[in-house]
Point group: C2
Chain length 232, copies 2
DNA sequence: CAGTGGTCTAGACCACAGC
DNA sequence: CTGTGGTCTAGACCACTGC
């Protein structure tokens, strides 16, 4: 098991932090000191420290030194794919409606547009093994020249819908996750007769200038979805 | 507005990717080519490329080159703090019970322990403005010598509870988010009389060896919580 | 003032891709 | 074989910190 010197430096310091030999706020040996300790050049040391910075273990203050960071124990990675989650995946969708509409006050406000700017609305149902498990409504800013291809939209996730008009790299996305009781309409769409909670995911997409590009809400049957997050 | 050369390189290439001049899978100019283009040394170029790698724009294949990555448009950052969310925060907690118990089959299985290994159970209520908004149950592996300090536990988040026995850096965490209808017990605890959905967050904490250290579930009134995720 | 991290140079050798 | 990225050296000057 041979590994580069800078990985050795990274591992050593990481171990000291994990074993609590170095605590948050503590200073790390200076770069020149580490150079001597490992008998290596400064660039190699900095390479190892850069890894620690990238993984959130340390931070540096120019002129002072490198210090152990407080771990962000409230941060999680969430994978949210409208059609796939921890316990189920969508195998069929049904396009209920595609329409160009004029937004009402609230929608215009949310999309930061005037009320005479047209918006694409689409409503879909998601199915798993023949049963409807989610009701989905999306609003997209209408761009002339961006054709609406029903077949493409039917199976597209929200970010993919916008990929024609915006590079996916430039998309900023926000999620809001909540739980609520279904109203009559949704009960009908999802064929819910018993008492059942909905998991509601609201998505908002922005371009790089923070201009809203789309707004969407997906109502999942609570017994058919679990969202999964992983820490660190 | 002066910025280091490597930041300029980073910005230039990022712009090319965002403007779709460079598409996923495309090769970037080689490092030596970039050295000539910017009249700089290889380390400076590599510094800029490292930033692009860290932000998920590119990846490199040794011997071949650097390439534009496909954006991960299903990845979000989720901040989950048991006591604080997008629309409310907990201002009071009530410790219903702290006990050392023997796990039942399911719990022992989940914590990967034998049924004669003791477990700390604690149950809490979270309040906002005098009203109970969440019911919380946690199970922690019992470690001899780790004192249970009620006052500490009462206001601690789950990762903090374990911080005495494990470095917070070493904690791996999993979240499962779902929605369900409250049962009679929870309705009583949360003083729910109307129809209401619960947002349920299950947390599982592991140490570095992937040994489960704790298990917890928090049941939030659906009208008092929204979880917030941000993309990219 | 000496020590720190930030930026940068101009080289080097290596393992690996692809021809 | 040439070209690629991965690792590394031994210096340099700068801005900043703290004494």
């Amino acid at each position: 098991m041979i590994s580069p010197v800078y990985v050795k430096i990274f591992d050593d310091i990481k171990l000291k932090i994990n074993s609590a030999e170095l605590k948050p706020g503590d200073a790390i040996d200076s770069e020149t000191t580490l150079c001597k300790e490992y008998g290596t050049s400064r660039m190699t040391v900095r390479n190892g420290l850069a890894m620690l910075v990238n993984e959130g273990y340390i931070y540096s203050i120019p002129g002072k030194g490198n210090f152990v960071k407080k771990p962000e124990h409230n941060k999680y990675n969430l994978y949210y794919d409208e059609m796939n989650n921890a316990i189920n995946s969508v195998d069929k969708t049904k396009l209920l409606e595609v329409n160009i509409i004029l937004p009402d006050e609230k929608l215009a406000d949310n999309l930061q547009i005037t009320k005479n700017k047209r918006v694409i609305m689409l409503r879909r149902l998601f199915y798993t093994e023949g049963k409807p498990i989610a009701y989905d409504v999306k609003y997209l800013i209408y761009n002339k020249g961006t054709p609406i291809v029903e077949k493409e939209i039917e199976y597209a996730s929200f970010p993919e819908m916008l990929s024609k008009s915006v590079s996916l790299f430039t998309l900023k996305k926000d999620l809001l996750i909540s739980a609520q009781i279904p109203d009559q309409d949704i009960k009908r769409y999802l064929e819910i007769r018993e008492d059942l909670a909905l998991l509601v995911v609201e998505q908002k997409l922005y371009n790089l200038e923070n201009k809203p590009m789309g707004l969407g809400t997906t109502f999942y049957r609570g017994d058919y979805i679990k969202l999964e997050g992983t820490g660190q």
